[in-house]
Subunit: 358 residues, 2 copies
């Protein structure tokens, strides 16, 4: 049975956990906002369910709770940010703000980040651009779980891309997706239920297509978007690679098979060529191209046209990216955020360890 | 039987055809270079085989052979270019050069284009950035052939994305792909052979999955990358939408179902909200992030690692994006470009009509 908790309760608890590990008040608030945005938007795999995972990274000294974030290289439209091994949940909003500030000055801003850690959901950071009438872009590399087309070996993370685009009367367009067929979180759900996974999600340790939800844990790999060669998995592989290069190679972070893992019990890769995990952020001022009013009017027309596209089944209309997340957010702000019993137990335990009441 | 022609012969013919319809010498050269780059790189569907299609657009007064290209809005890092109904083959290199010039000044340049036409292969334009030690990005919208997830209706073009990234000793990384499972050109090959198409490429007019290569012509639609809901076709739909919005909505071009068709015999959409077809280009100076030398050294390591990733089949190693195209180009520069008899006949006829000897 799921139990529901108010946003405020989970937020306060999360904030106090981050304070307990040594974050400043400012950083604890930002980290809690980043993390909880996943729960609000219905991405349960990336929210408070991962809080203890972040704490274990801190315990393993892989996360610096009190980092000095700084720009180590810049031009009018670009910057490289050194995350100083901080929580990605804090580093990402800092770097996205740099991108926004540059866009204010010269039209666009592009920031590649080195020496960071996992940043929660990409969409949250991309959406920081929206109140400024800017398009926001966020991506990150992650530890290797994905085999490129033709490979057995895991070389790429699920490397998500988020793009947030303002509209007028309509809700903004917010795409946020892993460049794999299925995010690891969806696979874990089927693992827990012991159900087979659809074709194109995973391959086994020999590289053969598999329906086994445990294939990844048994030495197999997640598959790039497209699933197999006939389904054009090379396109998903290219997308994941672009995210990896923009986030990792452009910043001087680690890349490919050398990106540090999220679970603290997994050893760090050997011979790492860079610093920590890499992210990439962009902000484009709408009025650097045309007036925000004209753009938003057209976006409203775009959204209305796609919503009203003739559906295959009248009960399943076309979905605008970001629309389901708004429904989740509205519901969960009112009715609370549902947590599985295992997550509640984990949070209670975490609170006890750090002297924070859940 | 295919017949091979030298690059120079096809280039000279193409250039003279563009001169014959009224292009300036400068534009005819650039248009021929853009078009022929597809034949060289092995994308036979987008090269000289389409030359008569471009001429028919000119005959239908949908293409202006002598356009005045201009920047209609700009900031230090952005511009909107008005293509004046010119050939996309000419408009695209102009706009990409604007992006490159802006990147020289402020680190990056981003150009959205309105009132253009089809621009050939996206990769060619993105690759203009490479000699400048920049990352190049090119995308375009196109007339609607693709149904979003859950829709019967065709709302998006095949909307390709190209990203070209410099390396050191290795060949550059060049990704260039339609955001559908399969490009229309691949479908047409199976149509001509009367062969079934793999699952996830097309749906029929009722929106049901289909293996019929003629499904698109019979009122069906191409499918977004991912192929179906379980395969995460909503991600391909999101990608195609982002390309459409960056190219069409951000520039004031047409978007979604209103993008003008390539075949001149298809009527123009009604109530078009913008001007012509839209493109989007980006250029990012590597040394706006870190030294080009350090970046290229890491890119060489990235490429070597992926090439050497453990393959499923030792005879099929992992492919680096852009690698097959280099092999095509090397072969075709030496041994000529193969054309199907139907294409040769079409070019001969075109030459006769315009007084140009093939």
């Amino acid at each position: 049975m799921e139990q529901r908790f108010t946003y405020q309760q989970l937020f306060n608890f999360t904030e106090r956990i981050f304070l307990a590990i040594g974050c400043t008040a400012h950083d604890a608030t930002i980290a809690a906002e980043s993390l909880l945005s996943a729960d609000l938007r219905g991405v349960d795999s990336h929210g408070v369910a991962r809080l203890s995972g972040y704490v274990r990274l801190w315990e393993a000294k892989r996360v610096n709770a009190n980092p000095t974030l700084k720009i180590i290289h810049e031009t009018p439209s670009t910057a490289v940010v050194d995350g100083d091994a901080g929580l990605g949940l804090v580093v990402a909003p800092f770097a996205m703000q740099v991108a926004i500030d540059k866009a204010k000055n010269v039209g666009t801003g592009w920031v590649s980040v080195q020496h960071s850690n996992h940043f929660g959901i990409a969409g949250k950071h991309a959406m920081m651009a929206l109140p400024h009438d800017m398009i926001g872009i966020a991506m990150t590399n992650a530890s290797a779980l994905v085999a490129p087309t033709f490979a057995k070996q895991k070389m790429l993370g699920t490397n998500p891309i988020a793009v947030a685009i303002p509209a007028g009367k309509q809700a903004p367009f917010v795409a946020d997706f892993a460049t794999t067929t299925a995010a690891n979180g969806k696979l874990e759900i089927l693992q827990r239920k012991n159900k087979p996974v659809p074709q194109g999600w995973v391959q086994n340790k020999d590289g053969a297509a598999s329906n086994n939800a445990h294939a990844l844990k048994e030495g197999g790999a997640l598959l790039p978007l497209g699933g197999n060669r006939e389904g054009s998995s090379h396109k998903g592989y290219m997308l994941g690679s672009i995210v990896d290069i923009f986030s990792g190679v452009l910043s001087g972070a680690n890349f490919g098979p050398w990106v540090p893992p999220f679970p603290a019990y997994i050893p760090m890769p050997e011979n790492m060529p860079g610093q920590g995990i890499g992210h990439f952020f962009g902000a484009m001022r709408i009025d650097a191209f045309r007036t925000a009013d004209a753009f938003k009017k057209d976006m409203d027309q775009w959204i209305a046209a796609f919503k009203n596209a003739t559906p295959i089944d009248v009960n399943e209309p076309v979905i605008i990216p970001g629309e389901p997340e708004v429904i989740f957010e509205n519901d969960r702000m009112i009715n609370g955020i549902p947590l599985l019993p295992a997550v509640v137990t984990d949070l209670q335990q975490l609170g006890e360890n750090l002297g924070v009441i859940f």
